[in-house]
Symmetry: C2
Subunit: 491 residues, 2 copies
């Protein structure tokens, strides 16, 4: 294990994080909202800790799969620990765990909050919350790879560990170039949405914060009633459209820019994703038709919650916890679908659900023809066996974590709906659930140990399970020691 | 498609079913309970229909995989249709669908009932309900293979389609011999339990009916409050032990009789099964410790519901719908585990859950060592790839049916807990669920179309999904036609 390089990169990450707090500081100075000191201390602590980490550490290109996993897991953990500081220093939260939960929820683009009176929070803190979404959406490590040259081949492991989805389409042979391209697209989408929200009547502060929450599929709002508070159909539609766009594989935008229309047009995952949105919207609209008299409002409200939940954003324009069981169960199901691979959306991802369905269909055919060899194809190409194997295991581990997590939250005394939906909503990086954690409630009432477990579920969900789980297995560390020992003997 | 043989076998099955109604007739004559005519008509209708089916049909040994699937699906459907007749004729149910639901629930050993006042039903009807459990438990087709010689190789497809679990251990090279052995063990367990229940103080009628419900992991009782009505700890313990025994692979009893102790001792699935029972019992006992003061009663009550739900029996000695969320969620989870392969228990089966867990563990190892070849072993033997593939697809289809079924029941206006648990309880052949279908409620209030869908889920669950699903795919019938045409051309 090349701990020197791990320390170097984590340290640099903390320095970057400290610098990234400066925009929030600027807003708190502009509004003079009383959180100035909190940001000064947090920035200093983060940068200081960064230099401590980097002490005597050097960057080498000798990065293996283990170093990659450790850097990503530790990087996100440390970012959340230091990201919690502004909340703690300005006393927006009662305990450090509450601050940590809020920071993890921000970076992982979950959007689950423990803040009960959001409008009373300092402006700088609100900006900071939303900005963590934006940093976490495309991936702080990906950002890092784009900025920091010379990480070399090991960077690919980190990149793969952080980019959502079962397979990574390298847009270019150089990982740095791919990372940069993704960030350009991300910034482009963000600028476009901010401008549109300004035109729709929001001020710059609300436009920026809600753009961060949308393009990152995060869900933190500056209002307690989320997007519903604006009562502005134009804002709802802009956010609806950009949530949909942010749930699409960002590679497709790259192909669009290069005018490779057919690659976009023939994308199976995109068709599946849009199909699910339309089907779920119509079903829920039918189910809640008694609640909303106007057909236009009905469709917009239904589509907004469907897209918000499925892309794992978590914004709301209605209290869907009051809807009939069918609508709630459809939303609960969509919590598992998530965005497309390579988007900023979380959960299992559309392509995994698609391939699972194809896998089951193939088995029906093979039961009748035991000796036939039937490949599973996506976009005309066979899915390789190792990708398939990983995808199946991923899905079962995802379901197992959901089940075990729900049982744990229930063991703390929460009811069944709250337990189930709080875990589905954090593991899938969505945000609100049902019952005690519904769209008009918060996670504040969950016991502290429950918040810690939910924080880890958010991290696991964001980093595609394996990365985080492996760092906590004895085997991961055992083999490191064996390798080092044998390296020593050989050396 | 050899429809001649299909007709012959289905016809014979209906004749056997008609004869199997005679014991129920005997009880209704003995108690003179007013259901004598209902049984006379039903027996006549069943035997009459049987001869109609067999008209001009001959038994040939030319049975393929398709014929096997069709015979099993159609056989169980027809048995349920004619099994509904006694309920309809004696007016124990309001509609034919209600009767069909009750008969399917009986044959599939589900034990979900629509009868609201069980104690008021004629004795013959109560016996008949429980007797359908007993016939369905080990499999009416397996019984058939044991009785009827000369079905030949095609019998294996039927056998495999009906025996629970991912792989069939042929106890002998002759399928007839295996079927007979399984039935001998089944009869042996039944006689033993009946005698013990007689000693514990039940009369012959209650001993027999509850033995049928236990060894078949069915769950129909002659009391509205199920086993709780007897208020007899000895009866509870006898039924607890025999439920546990009935959830074990029956092959192990065969090995025991042949004194192959090590094959039983080393059985991984058995250890896993017993481990899950102990763990779940302790967890629930801890969770409900406030409800039951005596520690002995607490453990017995907890173990009884755990074993009853997990073996998919469905008897109850407590209204577990009133328990805290954690206990209910553990029971809901166990609804998916089910019995061991080759037992009379339903749901996914212990071995599938075990192999899934090993599959996920292997993937974690392979993420660190992408090029390693790590086989999945059960009892020291590698699980073949095609078994693994089928098992993974089975699990996803099971989950998909659960999700789609729950959404459908919710679309009929049922609440979330009722929708989810009614589907889990029927697909897994358990019986009672939570909420509207809790242990002290019935399925009567589910709308008629919902009862039909739940009936099909029971059939699919009992026949291990693929058999039934394939019979309803266009491809199954398309290829039949193509095969027949090409056979015609070649001929």
């Amino acid at each position: 294990m090349n701990l020197n390089t791990v320390r170097y990169i984590i340290g640099t990450l903390l320095i970057v994080l400290g610098i990234a707090m400066i925009p929030s500081l600027a807003w708190s100075i502009y509004y003079n909202d009383g959180s100035i000191n909190a940001f000064l201390y947090s920035t200093a602590a983060s940068i200081g800790a960064g230099f401590l980490f980097r002490m005597k550490a050097v960057l080498s290109k000798d990065l293996g799969i283990r170093e990659g996993f450790l850097i990503v897991t530790l990087g996100w953990l440390m970012a959340s620990v230091f990201g919690a500081l502004p909340f703690v220093f300005c006393k927006a939260v009662d305990t450090f765990i509450d601050g940590f939960f809020e920071a993890v929820s921000g970076f992982t683009t979950t959007g689950a909050t423990i803040m009960t009176n959001i409008e009373a929070l300092p402006r700088g803190i609100l900006f900071c919350r939303s900005f963590t979404h934006w940093l976490g959406g495309m991936g702080i490590i990906v950002l890092f790879l784009a900025i920091l040259p010379g990480v070399g081949a090991g960077g690919f492991h980190m990149f793969r560990a952080e980019v959502p989805g079962p397979s990574v389409s390298k847009l270019s042979s150089k990982i740095t170039h791919t990372a940069k391209t993704l960030w350009y697209i991300y910034v482009g989408l963000s600028v476009l949405q901010t401008v549109l929200l300004l035109f729709a009547g929001l001020d710059l502060f609300d436009s920026l914060t809600h753009t961060f929450g949308t393009v990152a599929t995060g869900g933190f709002s500056t209002k307690g009633l989320s997007i519903g508070a604006f009562n502005n159909p134009a804002v709802e539609i802009i956010i609806l459209v950009f949530m949909t766009l942010s749930g699409i594989n960002f590679s497709l935008y790259y192909y669009l820019l290069r005018r490779q229309w057919d690659r976009v047009y023939n994308d199976e995952e995109l068709k599946f994703y849009l199909g699910v949105i339309v089907a779920a919207t119509l079903l829920i609209a039918w189910n809640i038709r008694g609640f909303i008299p106007s057909k236009v409002d009905l469709l917009r409200t239904s589509a907004f919650q469907v897209v918000s939940i499925m892309t794992t954003t978590g914004y709301a324009t209605a209290n869907f916890d009051l809807w009939p069981a069918l609508s709630k169960m459809i939303l609960l199901l969509l919590m598992f679908f998530g965005g497309c691979a390579g988007s900023t959306g979380g959960a299992m991802k559309q392509i995994r659900v698609m391939i699972l369905a194809k896998y089951c269909g193939r088995e029906l055919v093979q039961t009748l023809h035991p000796k036939a060899v039937v490949p599973i194809k996506i976009g005309g190409k066979s899915v390789p066996d190792d990708v398939l194997r990983n995808l199946l295991a991923f899905s079962f581990i995802y379901i197992a974590l959901f089940v075990l997590g729900s049982l744990f939250i229930a063991s703390l005394g929460q009811d069944m709906i709250t337990s189930i939906s709080s875990v589905a909503a954090t593991l899938g990086n969505i945000g609100p659930g049902f019952g005690g954690v519904g769209p008009e409630s918060t996670f504040k009432e969950i016991p502290q140990v429950g918040k810690l477990v939910l924080s880890f579920l958010m991290l696991m969900g964001r980093l595609e399970l394996f990365t985080v789980i492996l760092c906590f297995t004895p085997r991961f560390w055992q083999e490191v020691r064996i390798n080092q020992r044998s390296a020593h003997i050989v050396g």
